[in-house]
Amino acid sequence: MLKDKIEKHLLEIQKPSRYIGGEVGSVIKDKSKVDVRFAFCFPDTYDIGMSHLGMKILYSLTNERENYWCERCFAPGLDFEAIMRENDIPLYALESLDPIRDFDFIGFTMQYELSYSTVLNMLDLAGIPIFAKDRTNELTQIVVAGGPCVCNPEPLADFFDLFILGEGEEVNLELMDLYWEMKQQGADRISFLRRAAQIGGVYVPQFYEFSYKEDGTIAKVTPKEGAPAVVKKRIIKNFDQVYYPENFVVPFTEIVHDRVSVEVLRGCIRGCRFCQAGFIYRPFREKSTDTICRETRCLCENTGYDEVSLASLSTSDHFDIDNMLTKLIEYTEGERINLSLPSLRVDNFSEALLEKIKRVRKSGLTFAAEGGTQRLRDVINKNVSEEEIMSTCRIAFEGGYSAVKLYFMMGLPTETDEDIVGIAELAQRIVDLFYSIENRPKGRGVQVSVSCATFVPKPFTPFQFEPQDTREEIERKQKLLLDSVKTKKIKVSYHDPNVSQLEVILAKGDRRLCQVIYAAWKKGCKFDSWSEHYHFDKWLEAFAECGVDPAFYANRRFGYDEILPWDHLDYFVTKDFLIRENKTAHQSVTTPNCRLKCSACGVSKEMGGACFDKGKSCF
């Protein structure tokens, strides 16, 4: 039995409870009564993957169906991987401890580009052919992927049988239903894929042929086998009523987000022009306060967690935020539960609510300012003014805080040295503000942390056409920022520009990258998001060997009329709108948020009606 083989080695590795299942809340079924088995794979370690909300939702949802069984699977740490390879332990799922190669579906969630090489490693560990074309024509082992990254799935196209675009709550079950129906009829893989391609939201990459122009850009994308020319993403129309789990798997070992997480809204009204989530998850939909409170209570009681956090892109944009927080705080305080409130703007709250939030909020104060000057913030449509930043900092300092963390991006479109120096100046004004406040926290100095990421242009954003700064340029700007900071009260940190460069290539790449990813994995690349495992030199070798120029994807401006690798996928936001927004950005003009004024991005047309009615979301 595989279990005995695994257990033989568990005490030789770190945190063994991650590899043996048995957690409270995990779902065990009788194999003989199950028709379709789905291995939900997260291409990173347990600690990261178990924190992912989407997995929790789809896990519970699938397992509600008696004859379907969804299990979890993560990438093993390097220590366990070595043992697995040495002892012929194939990658297995945590509920049954059965090898995932025997499953009907092997589904990956693609949350970040730097996990692509890990997918290949997991398929290899599982003993599943890495290229879709090498898999048997039998109806089994269907390798699928979903998640935000598959809005441009082309760099992964050769490895997957199909991609699921948009939200999985409905389409996942439709796929499994079709599979079970065809399995009973004795159908083969190709005929299943042909019919699957007719389901809304399902993209079967082998049915699309790409041809290229001499300059390397795409000439044409031709659908085959009756597959639709354009595949539309799936979306949940009645968000307040959508399935939400009543229980989570509660891990023994500590994970990154070790708490109950309740989704309060999906999508975002803001339209920051660099933010992919802000566009691909449209329209903005919110749950009612009653639903949020009920789900919070239910999950806290069933899991035993004493911490709950609200999941959303911007919690403060909830239409009933005051009332919702008041009710939640009432419940969590009574039950001695910690309420954590990430992504919360506090500038427009009432005194009374602010008092309550201060009581429950332990984390420091963070701000995503993103740009160092108002001009640049207008370019990126980050609707936060310096006044707001200052007034929130004032409230925070008066309330006893003495540390502020600011997030910025470097290499944004139209950015000049003035904008970089502006970051340092803004941080300095916050330091000055602190010392100007009479009732500031005594006995402590102020600490302003400035964290700078490198801008990564992403598909389905108005900046999808933009080039990324070269590494040399980013390094010059980083140095300029460091030189502009004049006090130890401001601490600057930034990301490795080599990492951001790979991110943009994988985000905006096309099918020709599949070979590069394969070559990089062959050279040992995996866990690229872990700085200690990141080997940019190996990636560069892989690019060179495959004859692919990284700069073509990273540092080239994509034309408005160019066929982009993701143009045949429809995320409801039209390309015309993205072009319009791109032009507006270059004029430093902002676009109002969706609640204030609709900018006709194309989403409401797909939804069949306006997104908002009297300030409340319609879906």
Partner: protein, 218 residues
Amino acid sequence: MIRVRAVFEKKGRAKYISHLDLNRCMLRTFRRSRLPIWYTEGFNPHPYYSFALALSLGFESNCEIMDFNITDDNMSMEEIRDRLNAVMPEGMRIVSAAPQRLKITAITSARYSFSLVTEDAAGLFEAVKTTLAQPELLIEKKTKKGIKTVDIRPDMKVISCEATDTGVDMVMDLPAGTQTNYNPTLFVEVLKKFTQIPFTAEKFCRTGIFCENNEIFS
């Protein structure tokens, strides 16, 4: 307020829950049970519960001890036990809940069973006998003050030692409690000095916790 002492099992997959993780795991178990557990007072109140002895990662046990307080004086021990068992993770079970009788400091020793597995069962059995016949068994033990050489033989009480088809099954008592704690792996370490025969030690299980005069701690 009732002061409760629970005896619980930690078996099967639960043996991979580390001591640190066990703390978190019990906190959530208490919350799921919704028992009125007593919270500490002060700046950062938290539910109070404590374990008598730490158990090594990978060891099973029949007899782990956990103390806590229940604020409802009218609650029966059976109810406390059953409500916890209804929400315990797989492999863990409250065997009994009873009022706390002795102080934790009364613990003097613990009993362990384990198996030595080898190709050469007879040879290993001889080696175990030779080892046990030594007047002293010196090992290097890490303490807070650095590495120290100690003789574990006088404090080691062999309860049984049987040859099996696959090796040797052993049961022994070792000092435990707030003063000295010996782990049965210390014996395994020493045995390796007396024999070249390759073997592995497995199925470690704590089977009893005792105080003076071999009385079962409760």
